[in-house]
């Protein structure tokens, strides 16, 4: 009958062929392949300084009859190193979760045991189905000054290790990043961008536990971020964008009173409105277009300033020319 055998990387392993005598004639196989007799000491199989590649099924057959006398699965691995444990509340005030992982793999199965103590009370951390290395706790008390002590022990066939985290209720509060961040140009405003977002859906009660937000933005061509902190509302208009430049924008959230900032949201890109053809649809273009050929489009007529019928004679020309010069200057500045 077969069983599993766990051994440490680098160990010397001796396998006995079941109840066979030491001097019996046997053949050992590893994953079906015969093992050279040089590895044998009598009927014992000797594996020196095993490595991970030597994991597998080892079988021992009686010499002449080829009866299977013994079989084992060898699993080579390591005892666990100290696990990394992290606890966080992204759904305050409902509860918090703890998640963990090992810094290096053990290559063999591990089991985890977690204990949470609040003062004298032991609390139950319910394991999540997915992801596996996570459990969550519901707060029984709020506003407590008593710290929580979480101890995680990881055990496998070759050893065990543990770590402890101690924290108070407020310190681990960290919301998820804001969701559905949208940035849009503002028509006829070459330096504005309208940004809006939503509270993270994991935050259960934004009315009683409002979030504040941090917005950061920069043009793609520059490295320096601009920052804006917003104590309420889920939208903001940027008014100092560089005309015609593509921007990258992100938002982060924090409970108004406690805890730390969330990670940055997914980045969105937006370019402020410009008078370039692709951003402008003039009245003239709309009325003229009957059978629109989608592959090409007409450049719009000259800018609105020049179109104003009220401006007469050389004055009109001067205005048009000035407008053109300003736009050209802008363009040169921000290339």
């Amino acid at each position: 009958d077969s069983h599993i055998q766990y051994e440490r990387v680098g160990a010397d392993v001796t396998m006995k062929c079941g109840s066979m005598d030491w001097d019996a004639a046997v053949t050992w196989t590893a994953n079906g392949t015969d093992i050279d007799a040089s590895h044998l000491n009598g009927s014992y199989l000797i594996l020196k300084k095993v490595d991970l590649t030597q994991s597998g099924q080892y079988s021992c057959y009686e010499g002449s009859s080829w009866h299977l006398k013994y079989q084992t699965y060898l699993r080579v691995g390591t005892p666990p190193k100290e696990p990394l444990l992290m606890c966080r509340s992204n759904n305050y005030p409902k509860g918090f979760y703890c998640s963990w992982h090992l810094p290096t793999p053990t290559y063999i199965p591990n089991s985890f045991n977690i204990s949470v103590i609040h003062g004298t009370r032991e609390m139950v951390c319910e394991k999540d189905v997915f992801p596996k290395n996570r459990c969550h706790i519901r707060y029984l008390q709020l506003f407590s000054t008593v710290k929580y002590k979480v101890t995680l022990t990881v055990t496998n066939a070759l050893g065990k290790n543990s770590t402890t985290a101690t924290f108070d209720e407020f310190a681990i509060v960290k919301p998820d990043p804001p969701e559905s961040v949208v940035a849009k140009p503002v028509p006829n405003n070459p330096r504005r961008l309208e940004v809006s977002w939503q509270n993270p859906s994991s935050w259960p009660d934004p009315e009683s536990f409002p979030l504040k937000f941090f917005l950061r933005y920069r043009p793609l061509i520059l490295d320096q971020w601009q920052h804006v902190e917003l104590s309420d509302g889920t939208s903001h208009t940027i008014t100092d964008a560089y005309a015609g430049k593509e921007y990258i924008i992100q938002v982060a959230a924090k409970d108004n009173d406690i805890g730390t900032w969330s990670d940055w949201s997914v980045a969105v890109h937006a370019t402020p409105w410009t008078e370039e053809p692709k951003h402008l649809t003039t009245e003239a273009q709309v009325t003229e277009t009957t059978s629109a050929s989608t592959s090409s489009f007409m450049p719009p007529p000259t800018t609105k300033i020049c179109d104003k019928g009220a401006v007469v004679g050389s004055g009109a020309v001067a205005v048009c020319w000035t407008a053109g010069l300003v736009l050209a200057a802008y363009g040169v500045l921000f290339i």
Binding site: P93, Q141, L142, S144, K147, E207, D257, I258
Partner: protein, 195 residues
């Protein structure tokens, strides 16, 4: 008439709540600063664990979300009345203790005491709106401070300030709950009774 009363009461309540929230926010920020000063001046370790201090109202509460508006106000009021007495005691002890060197600490303590008093008054106003009126303070004296060594008194002070900082956060949350229009509020109940 009744409708008008309800609207003006509701408005006054919302106004008191939002001012109370700002008061609590400022108070918390000052208490946190005071804690840093206190720890430093009293030569304590910031991470020192202080066991539950007798006579100090604990901010910790179970089923916080199920509390009624009146419960919230009553618990807050009892707590801040206690803190008012505790801080006054601390201030007195502190003034006896040392002279000039800790004038800054004394001033910071006095400033927080003032805010606690103001907040207490604020809570009393809110309770009056709930047509309950605040309970009297007679017989609500905290027990006299047990005779403690200087070091024990310092640790006790640390416990008081820490708990007060928690309360300031709790009060902000409580007032936000109160500011929400709620069908089960006591003012709605009393309204139903009026002819």
């Amino acid at each position: 008439m009744a409708a008008a009363d309800n609207t003006s009461a509701a408005l006054r309540r919302r106004d008191l709540c939002s001012r109370g929230i700002r008061l609590a926010g400022k108070m918390r920020s000052d208490v946190v600063d005071l804690l840093d000063t206190y720890v430093e001046r009293q030569g304590l370790d910031a991470s020192a664990s202080v066991a539950a201090v007798e006579g100090v109202p604990a901010a910790a509460v179970e089923r916080w979300d199920e509390q009624t508006g009146t419960q919230r106000l009553l618990e807050n009021l009892a707590a801040y009345r206690a803190f008012r007495a505790l801080l006054a005691q601390m201030l007195e002890e502190q003034q006896e203790q040392l002279g000039e060197a800790d004038a800054a600490l004394g001033r910071a303590l006095a400033a927080v005491l003032l805010q606690v008093s103001a907040f207490t008054y604020h809570l009393e106003e809110l309770l009056r709106l709930e047509s309950r009126g605040p309970p009297s303070e007679e017989g609500a004296e905290p027990p006299p401070a047990p005779h403690l060594s200087l070091f024990e008194r310092k640790l006790r002070g640390l416990g008081v300030l820490r708990e007060l900082a928690q309360w300031a956060v709790r009060s902000t949350r409580d007032l936000r709950q109160l500011a929400k229009p709620s069908p089960g509020s006591s003012s709605a109940a009393s309204l139903a009774e009026s002819p």
